[in-house]
Amino acid sequence: MINPIINIQELSHAYADGTKSIHHINLQINPGESIAIIGPNGAGKTSLFLCIAGLVSFRASTFNISGINALEGNNKALLPSKAALLFQDSDDQLFCPTVEEDIAFGPINQGLSKAEVKQRVEIALEEVGLIEKRNKVPHQLSGGEKRRVALAGLLAMNPDILLLDEPSQFLDHRSRRSLINILNENSHTKLIATHDFEMALETCTRAILLDQGKILADGPVKTILADESLLKNHGMEVPYSLKPHI
């Protein structure tokens, strides 16, 4: 039997003003799975990611991420190295003066030697195809390149899980395609929060429908995304490629 890389029971999260964003979620994910997290705006997708990355306070009866029990001692601080989060807006994530420095930021904070950091940066740059942009200023890059630099910053941390929050948002067709190819070539466990169902179909095998902080459906991505009444009830539509064509 495979040990799940994410095992969460009874997870709840509320904002500072008391508004609940996640209600008693149970989630089990196996290593190497690629899962689409779908749901309308405000469903709790980003909050779920922030919890898994250990960046906000939460309540849970079980919270094991990649072998770490986050409920014990100060273990929550170890979560960012295990589950790396790609933010919706790349400008939030890129703050160093060069692409290379930005990608190195995470590994340096992990306490790696400079030689190891440089090696990781090299591999990450190669993986996202941005070797020639290494000395550029990140905030002067195009939207697609920024997204790839942000992704390289996560890959360089060598996490077990990638949490991708709306990765295809604001991308043009070419950048989106390039991102899909990178994701498909990558063997990490991936959770992808997205409204881009066509991308979900190409990159994920399983889908989880989240609404009002609760998991309402969990199953094969094609089954969930083809369920017209389920999607309609939660303000979404079946993607074009799954609609019956005459």
Partner: protein
């Protein structure tokens, strides 16, 4: 020194020097006429004194020296290098981090401001001195502040997500080059020579 530091990009410092001199003129021009002393020339009812001219020359040369030194420093380094240099000279890491993130944040805010300005223009807004116009500017400023707060929260989370624990480290360690050594010795030799010359001429 400014020439050496900014070579061959003169276009960068020439307009800046122009504005610095223009700024200094505000102090230089009235000083000879406002300082009492031996009259050198008269212009209508205004009398320029020798002491005033000396003071003007002193203000001009000192002002220009300080400004060109600052320009040489800024023109030859990126903000990030300056922050790292300051950190290396003992400025606390927290202050350096605040300075760098603040600078990055200003860049983002200026982009947001430009976007909002375009959005206002697209809806027919024209700035004027009416109460409605001031209200719009106030709303825009408030909106910018809220967005800034929102963004700073996101940036804070993004930094935490990448294991940040208070100290900005860098990938490359700065190494002293022959240019720094040259600059150091030039700075040592030139003022000492000037002092020696002054002493010799004085005697």
């Amino acid at each position: 020194m400014l020439l050496v530091c900014t070579w061959p990009d003169f276009g960068w410092w020439l307009p800046r020097i122009f504005w610095i001199i223009a700024g200094l003129l505000v102090f230089i021009l009235p000083t000879p006429f406002l300082t009492p002393g031996e009259t050198v020339f008269e212009w209508g009812i205004l009398k320029a004194s020798k002491e005033g001219l000396d003071t003007s020359l002193l203000i001009f040369s000192r002002g220009l020296a300080i400004s060109t030194l600052a320009l040489a420093l800024i023109g030859s380094s990126t903000i990030y290098d300056l922050v790292r240099g300051a950190n290396g000279l003992g400025l606390p890491s927290k202050i350096c981090s605040i300075f760098w993130l603040g600078f990055r944040h200003l860049d983002l805010l200026s982009h947001e401001f430009k976007r909002m300005r375009v959005a206002l223009r697209a809806r027919g807004y024209k700035i004027n001195s009416s109460l409605g116009s001031y209200k719009t500017i106030a709303r825009l400023s408030a909106n910018m502040l809220v967005r800034a707060l929102d963004r700073s929260e996101h940036v804070g989370l993004a930094i935490k997500a990448r294991g940040f624990h208070g100290v900005f480290n860098s990938l490359d360690t700065p190494k002293t080059t022959w240019r720094e050594f040259g600059f150091f010795f030039a700075m040592l030799i030139i003022p000492s020579s000037l002092l020696a010359l002054d002493f010799w001429l004085g005697n």
